[in-house]
């Protein structure tokens, strides 16, 4: 019985170790400096992502006067390092400069983003293992009841943190940043469609549907319109 419990724990830990160590090593993002921004600042889709590289890339775009691309890369960097103060500060600064409204984070947001998504995900897995093991141990033996209860509580907390983090990240799966200033949001997904409203560069919108070369977006204010796919870039490509 104990052997089985230990086997389960070992299996999950081995899997976690294998997954984390299997990640590709150094980012292939080209080093960008403030003095040498990219010659063609297209939406950059590298094979690997690093929070620092994305942050530096965003800084380059910001210095080149391209707030849309800067915000896009800051957002991506914030996904990997949500607690990095530099990323948050520069993101807010660029948005403010571009006159794009920002929503202050709520307490729940701050709590849920305490850990970066990858860490929170694995924390949730460990929490699940902890909770399950504690329950199994308490069933198998009457000893160390306090220990098992504490472990189960800790595991439950970790699972709750991971679920909160996932729930918070779920809307961001469909978030996009407007890359072109004065982007028209049309009433229909055709080039000749009437313009419903105009989007600012660096504005963050939510993609809700797509049709050929157009995506249906919803702004923070709740307005919806069709935007050319080339004018926006998804935060999570």
């Amino acid at each position: 019985m104990r052997r089985l419990t230990l086997t389960t724990l070992m299996a999950s830990l081995t899997l976690w170790t294998a997954t984390t160590s299997g990640q590709p090593a150094p980012a292939s993002t080209p080093p960008l400096t403030a003095q040498q921004p990219r010659a063609t600042p297209q939406p950059h889709e590298p094979s690997t992502y690093s929070a620092d590289d994305l942050y530096n890339l965003a800084n380059s775009y910001a210095r080149a006067g391209k707030p849309g691309l800067a915000v896009l890369n800051y957002e991506r960097a914030a996904l990997l390092a949500p607690n990095d103060p530099d990323i948050r500060a520069n993101l807010d600064y660029v948005r403010t400069t571009a006159q794009v409204p920002t929503d202050p984070p709520t307490r729940f947001t701050r709590f849920a983003q305490a850990a970066n998504p990858t860490a929170a995900a694995w924390l949730g897995v460990i929490g699940l293992a902890l909770l399950g093991t504690s329950l199994l141990a308490s069933k198998a033996t009457q000893r160390f009841r306090a220990l098992w209860a504490t472990s189960a509580l800790l595991g439950t907390f970790q699972i709750a943190l991971a679920i909160s983090n996932a729930l918070l990240l779920r809307p961001r799966m469909h978030e996009a940043v407007v890359l072109i200033n004065q982007t028209p949001a049309r009433v229909s997904p055709v080039l000749m469609g009437d313009t419903a409203f105009i989007l600012r560069e660096a504005e963050t919108v939510t993609m809700t549907a797509q049709h050929e070369d157009f995506v249906l977006i919803r702004t923070h204010a709740g307005r919806t319109g069709w935007v050319s796919r080339a004018n926006v870039a998804a935060v999570i490509p």
Binding site: N59, L69, L135, K139, R170, E212
Partner: protein, 597 residues
């Protein structure tokens, strides 16, 4: 002498009797030898029509203006001239009265001379097309001065007593089926004799199509053979629908004033002079007739099948093709408009192009076409095909040229107009169209925090692990393993006994509360036997009184008493007196607790 006087008086009476009717006729001449017309009979509100009163004896005096509600009359001119009746000039006078309507409707204007008939005038709204108003005095420019006397145009024949002619002018060469051929239709009218044209000229025969004729033809005054003519010309395009040899003519309906007298009577009346002109003009009656043009022979050839391109759409003519693209320096993602211009002469209604249906790395949209004519009939012009294109690929790209096949009737073979490929440099849309601009760049640069040193921590996918299927297999597998383990792991015996004891104590308490001593003692004895059997590792039926005394010592008496009460309660079903259930419960709980530990 008296006889001579009588003779002289007789001749005087005869002379006076002859003169008297002539004087009456002369007195009434200004009333009976006048007629009036209104032109045009239908006008738009805001325009004016002209009533023309013609007096054929030159004695037209002042004409009283009529009173018609909604119409305003003004005398605009008095003229002197000649009217030609059967080729003979007759001095005439004219009064021109302008009629201006104040509202729409159909008006009846009473005759302005005693024997003239009433006139009708239709007034329509200003924005309404007025098919009958083919002359507007407000908008028509002043007519050019009449040309010098000339002979009739070639191929024209005077009809309706020399009052009109119709002529069809078109190429004499063979034409091809579907080919658009520009034609001119000329209608010459003698003013004053031809009172109205009652419709547009039409082709005879149904083997040809003729573009809709304009209701505003070219108009000019000509003099043919010394006679003034109003020459109206329609420019149109004719096309044959099938091959063969055809005879073609045009006809035009009109109203013509015809003198019903014979030529001899007209000649006598003309010789008799003014007193007899009354009978001459009383015989002039309007008549509706159709005037035909001379017949033309036309050969229509079929389009050759040899060498016909697969993309031939039926265009016959002479065309040139060119293409362009706008904007000249587009950015990736920007819509471009690719235009194909096909200009020249021919049947543009058959000019068609599929444009670019598929183009690598480009998104193509359905094209639209429009035609801009360079002449009045649409024979010359330019057809424009516009197709939106979008690409996300940056760099220099080449849009291939387009071809267009047509049949050239001049060279009598199929030809192809080809456009040149267009190279277009697609710029980086994001770089070019950022708001940012360099002005904002300085602002952005000032408040940024510095760069981070490059790190080696990286991930291959920005999608959070929660939403990666591969990762989700980890917690799913773990949950399955834990669930399976839950069923596989046996609970510890202490845990099981503890739960069983708790259940037994609950049942004993229930029996005690209800005063069921038989059940209470029976359950208590069974519980204690099971407890001691487990503790001493003996079967329950081998635990005897001696065993109790040997293992428990002095407290064995309590158990012997409990055993006795259980037997008594079992057989009597009840115990007399008060039973101390709490004492026995405490005893059982104390030994059960001892067992747990």
């Amino acid at each position: 002498m008296r006889i001579q006087l009588m003779h002289w008086r007789k001749w005087l009476v005869i002379f006076l009797s002859l003169i008297a009717p002539i004087g009456y006729v002369d007195a009434a001449a200004d009333l009976s030898l006048a007629y009036e017309t209104i032109e045009p009979p239908s006008i738009r509100l805001g325009e004016s029509a002209i009533i023309r009163i013609t007096s054929l004896d030159g004695y037209l005096d002042d004409v009283p203006l009529p009173r018609v509600t909604g119409l305003k009359f003004d005398v605009v001119a008095r003229q002197q001239g000649f009217e030609f009746v059967s080729g003979k000039p007759i001095p005439s006078s004219y009064v021109l009265i302008r009629v201006t309507p104040e509202f729409t409707g159909v008006f009846t204007i009473p005759g302005l001379t005693p024997k003239s008939r009433t006139l009708g005038l239709e007034v329509v709204a200003a924005e309404t097309s007025n098919p009958l108003a083919w002359r507007s005095y407000k908008t028509t420019p002043p007519p050019p001065p009449p040309k010098a006397t000339a002979s009739l145009p070639k191929g024209a024949e005077l009809k309706a007593g020399g009052a009109a002619f119709v002529r069809l002018v078109m190429p004499t060469r063979p034409i091809y089926v579907g080919e658009s051929v520009p034609v001119d239709i000329e209608v010459g009218l003698r003013p004053g004799i031809v009172t109205s044209l009652n419709g547009l000229p039409t082709l005879t025969g149904g083997d040809f199509t003729l573009n809709n004729l304009s209701r505003q033809p070219e108009r000019r005054d000509e003099v043919y053979g010394g006679n003034p003519f109003l020459l109206m010309t329609w420019h149109s395009v004719l096309a044959a629908v099938k091959p063969g040899d055809f005879s073609l003519s045009v006809e035009a309906p009109m109203s013509v004033k015809i003198n019903t007298l014979s030529s001899e009577d007209i000649s006598i009346a003309a010789k008799m002079g003014a007193p007899f002109l009354q009978s001459l003009y009383n015989a002039i009656k309007p008549k509706e007739l159709t005037v035909n043009s001379p017949t033309l022979d036309l050969k229509v050839l079929p389009l050759p099948t040899e060498g016909r391109p697969k993309d031939f759409s039926g265009a016959v003519g002479n065309f040139q093709a060119s293409s362009d693209i706008t904007p000249a320096h587009p950015a990736a993602g920007d819509p471009l408009t690719y235009r194909l211009h096909i200009s020249g002469t021919g049947n543009f209604d058959r000019v068609d192009s599929p444009m670019l249906s598929e183009l690598d790395r480009w998104k193509t949209y359905p094209p639209k076409s429009s035609f801009t004519r360079s002449d009045a009939v649409g024979y010359k012009g330019e057809k424009l095909f516009e197709q939106p294109l979008i690409t996300a690929q940056t760099g220099e790209q080449t849009i291939p040229g387009l071809g267009f096949s047509y049949f050239n009737p001049n060279t009598r073979r199929y030809e192809r107009a080809q456009t040149q490929p267009i190279k277009v440099a697609i710029g980086a849309s994001l770089a070019d169209s950022s708001t940012g601009s360099l002005a904002d760049a300085a602002t952005l640069r000032r408040g940024l925090r510095p760069d981070h040193p490059a790190s080696s921590d990286s991930v291959s996918n920005l999608t959070p692990l929660y939403f990666q299927p591969l990762f989700l297999t980890v917690p799913a597998t773990l949950a399955l393993l834990l669930a399976g383990s839950w069923f596989l792991v046996h609970p510890s015996p202490e845990r099981v006994n503890s739960k069983a004891l708790a259940r037994t104590l609950a049942e004993l308490s229930a029996a005690a509360r209800s005063g069921d001593s038989a059940s209470f003692f029976e359950l208590a004895r069974a519980t204690l036997l099971h407890t001691f059997a487990t503790r001493w590792r003996l079967p329950p039926d081998q635990i005897t009184t001696e065993e109790f005394r040997a293992r428990l010592g002095p407290i064995a008496g309590d158990f012997e008493r409990l055993w006795a009460l259980a037997d008594e309660a079992k057989y009597s079903k009840d115990l007399p007196g008060t039973t101390d259930f709490q004492h026995w419960l405490a005893l059982i709980r104390a030994h059960a607790a001892g067992e747990k530990q």
